[in-house]
Structures are given as C-alpha cells and as structure tokens.
Symmetry: C3
Subunit: 252 residues, 3 copies
C-alpha cells in the first residue's frame, strides 16, 4: 500500500466508527463481509436502537459480535434516559441486550458533571466499554472551548476509553465544525493539548474532506467516527493511500 | 419517547411515504424488517416501475403487501400514460399488477381538469386508493398559487385520499421549495387553508431540515413524503424526539 | 417510452458505468437483479479492489459475469502498480482474478506516454478490454487541454475501447468540471473533436444535472460513468424520458 503502517484488528489506534441509520440484516452482513476488518465500532445512530423490533436488534448485535465489531447505541438515547432519571435502567438494558459499549454525551440534554461521572462509573462497573462525547449538536448551545478542554481531561481521568469529538451526521454547523465543515480556528489545538495523546480522541468526520484533512494531519491511524456505512471501504482506501487524495501526497 | 402521541399502524395521520429509486429484493426486505411499522407508502419513483423485470416487480409488490406497506407507481408514469391516451390501460395494468394505490399528478405533463377528474374517478372505480399531487417539478412551469389552492379543493372533493405537495427527490428548486429548500413565503398558509385539515396533505420533504421544520410546526404526526429509503428510521427518530433536533425542543 | 431509440444489451453505445464503493454480495445481487440490463460496467472504485477478502471479491466477479456486467478495478490501483514498477504483476493479477477489463489512467500519478502505451499494449495482449481515462483528479494538477486532446487520439489509436472523461466520484472541482460541476467552457468541444465520435467517450457524470445535461445534448445513448449504484435505475428512467427532467423536453 502507498501509505505504510496501517494497524490491524484488534486495533487500539486507527479506529473507525461507522454510523448506522437503520441498516437491515442483509445490509449489516454486507457491510461486515466487505469491511469488518476496517470497522471497529458500529453506532446505532440517534435513538434508533429503541425503534427496532427486538428480534432484528438481537440479530444485529449477534452479527456484530461474530464479526468482531463493537456495536453500541448512540449517545442521544442515554441523554434521554438520564433526563428521565432512568440511568440505571439504561445501563442494565444495555447489558441485557448484549451491547459491549455505551456512549455518554450531552450534545442535546444538559447533564451535570456529577451525573456524567456517575454514568461513566456505572457503565464501567457493569463491564461496558465507555466512549464519551464532547460538543453540542446545535452551535447555538455551544459553550466555551475551556469547558470542553476540561471535560476531555475529566472523562479520560474517569476511565473513558476514548473521547469522541462531536461532528454530527452532517459534519456541518455542529460540534467544532462551521457551516462549511471546517474546524473553528484554534479549537483543534486546544482539544489536542487536553487529550495529551491524539489517539485518545475519535474525530467525527462524516465528510470526505474532513477524513482526508485528518489523515493528512495525523496519518493513516487517526481515529475517525460517524463514517457513513457505504463509505467504510472508501475510507480505508483513503487511509492507506489507495485513493487519489491521499495517494497524491506521496508524490509531493 | 420524548415526544408523545405518535400514531401506530394502520395510521390515518402521521403517514410516511418513502421514495424507492430502485431497491432490490434484499434491500426492500431490509427496509421493511427495520421500518415497516413506520412506513405507510412506498412509491416507485419516477417511471422506474416500468423498468423492472416482471418477476422482481411482482416480488416487491408481494413483499409490501406482506409487511402492510402500500406500494404504488410514481405519478410521472401516469402522466406519460395520459399523454399517450392510455389512461384506461394504465389503471387496468395497476390493478393487474396488484398495486393498492396510484398517484395522479401533472408535475411535467399538462393535464386538463376534466381528464384529472376522469382519472381520479376511474381509479376509484377500480378500487384503488388515490393520491393526487399538486405542484410543478420545474419552477419555470409553476403557475399561480390560486390554481393549486383550487386544485387541492377539487381533488379532495373528487375523493382523493390525500394531496401530495410537490418537493421532488431533491427538495430544492421544485414545487413549493426555493433553491435552498425553503417554502416560498405565504404559500404554505394558502395551501393549508385550501386543505382545511393539515392531515389531508402529504408534504414531500426529502431533506432533514424540511422534515424537522414540518415536525416542529405540525407535530410528530405530520404526513411526510419522498423520504429516502435509508432515512426512514432516522425520520421516525426525529418524529418521536429520539434525535437531537427535535429532542432539543423539549428543553426550550 | 417517451424517448425512443434506447439501445439494448449487449450495447456498444449508451453505456452505463456504475461506481462501486464497497457493495456487499447481497447489494451487488440486488443491483444486478434490478438494473443489470442497464449497467454495462461496474468499476470497483479507487483501489478498493485490493481491500476485499479474496473469497468475497471472487463472488462479486462471478456474479457480474453471470449477469453480463463487465467488472473492473479502478484506475488508481493500476497507477499505484505502475509507480511501484509492478505493471506486469498487475495485468497478470487482473487476468487471474477474472476481470474482463482494466482502466489505464494518470489522474494522480504522472505516467509517461511510453509507459501508458506499454500498459495498453500489455493489457490488450492479455485479452483484456482497455478503458483509458484522461484528466487529473485534482484541478491543481491539471495541464492544458491540448495535452488531453492529444492523449485521447493516442489512446484510441493504441486500441482503447473507450476513453473516460474524468469527473471523480464527486463531480466537482475535478477533471473537466468546475466547483459547481459544470464543464469548463470550450473544453468539451475540443474533447469531442479529438474523439471524432462521441460514442468513443464515457463521461463521468455522478450528479443528476450532469447526466441530464449530457442526455439533453447527446441523446439517450450517451455513455455515462461514475453513476452511484443506487442511481442506476433512476438514470435509466432519465435516459428514456421516464423522469420529469427529460420527459419535459418532449413537450417543449
């Protein structure tokens, strides 16, 4: 491959998280047959996990297990549970359904630092892998970067496996992206400094130019999230230089 | 769910119509297994219904029947039949293939009021459910809003089950949407007044911000059409507040 | 059909080339069941062909053969092979895997005229159908139109079956398209003159307005490429006038 050093599964860096907006069983199987080696996490987007027929959901979770992909319900679902004082029920439901991981976020619902820490602790106690997310879904809710910097440090200190940097499904006008899908100047640097190690972050990067920019900046093993299911193989091509955009860099 | 009152199937309000641009048998089955409870109509977009192999088309129609989804051929196909003086043949073909509904539109072909009424009557006589559509596919063909207001009233008077408000597959520069996919000021109010009851309309809203705007305005049970197949579950999440955009409203 | 004269398979004009970004076996089968009559080539985009599990890739190639679709690996993959001095290995690998065709391009890697001709000759000798491509993936790499004019003539002279006009997967800011996906003024005319016969070209046209423009200009049997898999049937509807945009032309 034109770009060297891409990690293999099970990997701890170069993670790819795909967002699933409602894939059926055949589509899920198709994704895994083609790209399971390149997909580490499959997130059931938004609160869709609660809209599935139990039998279908159970088949999806088993299929993910079989192919070595960590499947988990989107953070919005837990935000709702917390806003309804059902944190315990949520964690226990996640375990019962067989999810290996959960995501803890406050993209829409405001959640106190105390509750956030309790949620992380409770999920860890239940044996779940914990991903946290920083950033607001709506730019109007956004608070100062100092807050996020602190939150990243605290989440990692509490045992979060990785911290996801919000980008939504659209990649625009959300989290740390502006209306054109570009990082707000200066914020990325502060996020990186807070994490200490780039590898502790997962950047939501649904758009190709975002994926390309992050790979160019951090190399083939940057952790990327919210990848559309039908772009999973194309992203892997981008990572290893099998696509014009990153291949071109080898000749400059 | 954060937003209460979402209707169940068989529903008469809160209808979702998905546009099918050429789903295969596995994909159709996937869609239904995951989202049949949330999908009321499946429209075979444009004139694609005539491009299928008969055996495959027949399988799709049977699959829809099995899952309780009303499948029907896009209005453009009937416009062509009418322009070729083949209205009778069209209706009889629809019955023979097993479609439970048809759509009568004049988005591209100009059709006289008399022929429109004849088409509605003929379809009703044949036992078909009739959806009509108002609006032109190309903004250059657009006529004054007064015409559409009158047409909505007439269609409903003639026995149309619902009137679809044109938005195309793109949601932009078509029907009643401008180049950014926003309603032309003032037109929505007149359309609503003509229908009398919002529930008698189906708004074509392929773009997320359109879906979100209509749900915010009319609640979770607004009738929406031209939903991309891979967005069907995400739309349901939006309807019931399982997605940041509508969930956020609950906290304001 | 409203537009007459659409060719049938096996066709030598009116070719449709679909870009495959990682379709699974079910999805590939779905595409072929629904649209194999309308799809002539299936290109495994970028260098994705090297990311598949051998067994899955072999199933895809066999499926394409069964449905009469010419499957081939994207040009970027051969550019990499050439840049690593592995042209022979590449051609022999393509034959061994059962690909009926290859694409020779220099969208990213600079390749001398001599090597280009050698690659064409070697592929022809191996019994492969040869598609070549002109145009750079990145507009910054673009050279003068005179170069491409010459290259088109030379490729056809060397035995290329068709010359593909670069448009990328995005259709914007690439090849001969500007940031809005429109042809740069004057270049299309020169490209046409170089080919002599429009039918010797395949226009990459991933966006609907590009497909519509080319069909309006050249008729239903213009050769089009980089069609997204889920748009294959919609494109056929556009070709034969079963979609508003081209149907409308019949009434003007």
């Amino acid at each position: 491959f034109p770009i060297d050093g891409r990690t293999n599964k099970p990997r701890t860096e170069g993670l790819t998280m795909v967002i699933d907006k409602g894939l059926g069983i055949n589509e899920t199987k198709d994704l895994f047959e083609v790209a399971a080696n390149y997909v580490d996490f499959l997130k059931l987007g938004f609160g869709t996990s609660s809209l599935y027929d139990q039998e279908i959901l159970s088949q999806k979770i088993n299929l993910a297990k079989e192919y070595g992909v960590m499947i988990y319900p989107g953070g919005t679902f837990m935000e709702i549970a917390i806003s309804q004082n059902k944190l315990e029920e949520y964690i226990s439901m996640a375990c019962k359904l067989g999810y290996p991981a959960v995501e803890i976020s406050d993209g829409t619902v405001n959640i106190s630092q105390e509750v956030r820490e309790r949620a992380i602790a409770m999920a860890l106690d239940a044996g779940l892998l914990v991903l946290t997310e920083v950033g607001k879904k709506n730019l109007r809710d956004k608070v100062q970067i100092e807050h996020y910097v602190k939150q990243i440090r605290q989440d990692l200190g509490c045992g979060a496996f990785r911290v996801i940097i919000e980008g939504r499904e659209s990649g625009k006008d959300a989290g740390f992206y502006d209306g054109k899908g570009r990082f707000v100047a200066g914020e990325m640097e502060q996020i990186l400094e807070a994490a200490g190690d780039t590898n502790l972050l997962i950047w939501e990067a649904p758009l190709k130019h975002q994926q390309q920019g992050l790979i160019t900046m951090f190399g083939p093993n940057v952790n990327l999230g919210n990848i559309p299911a039908n772009e999973a193989l194309a992203l892997e091509a981008l990572r290893v230089g099998l696509r014009g955009d990153t291949l071109r860099l080898q000749f400059e």
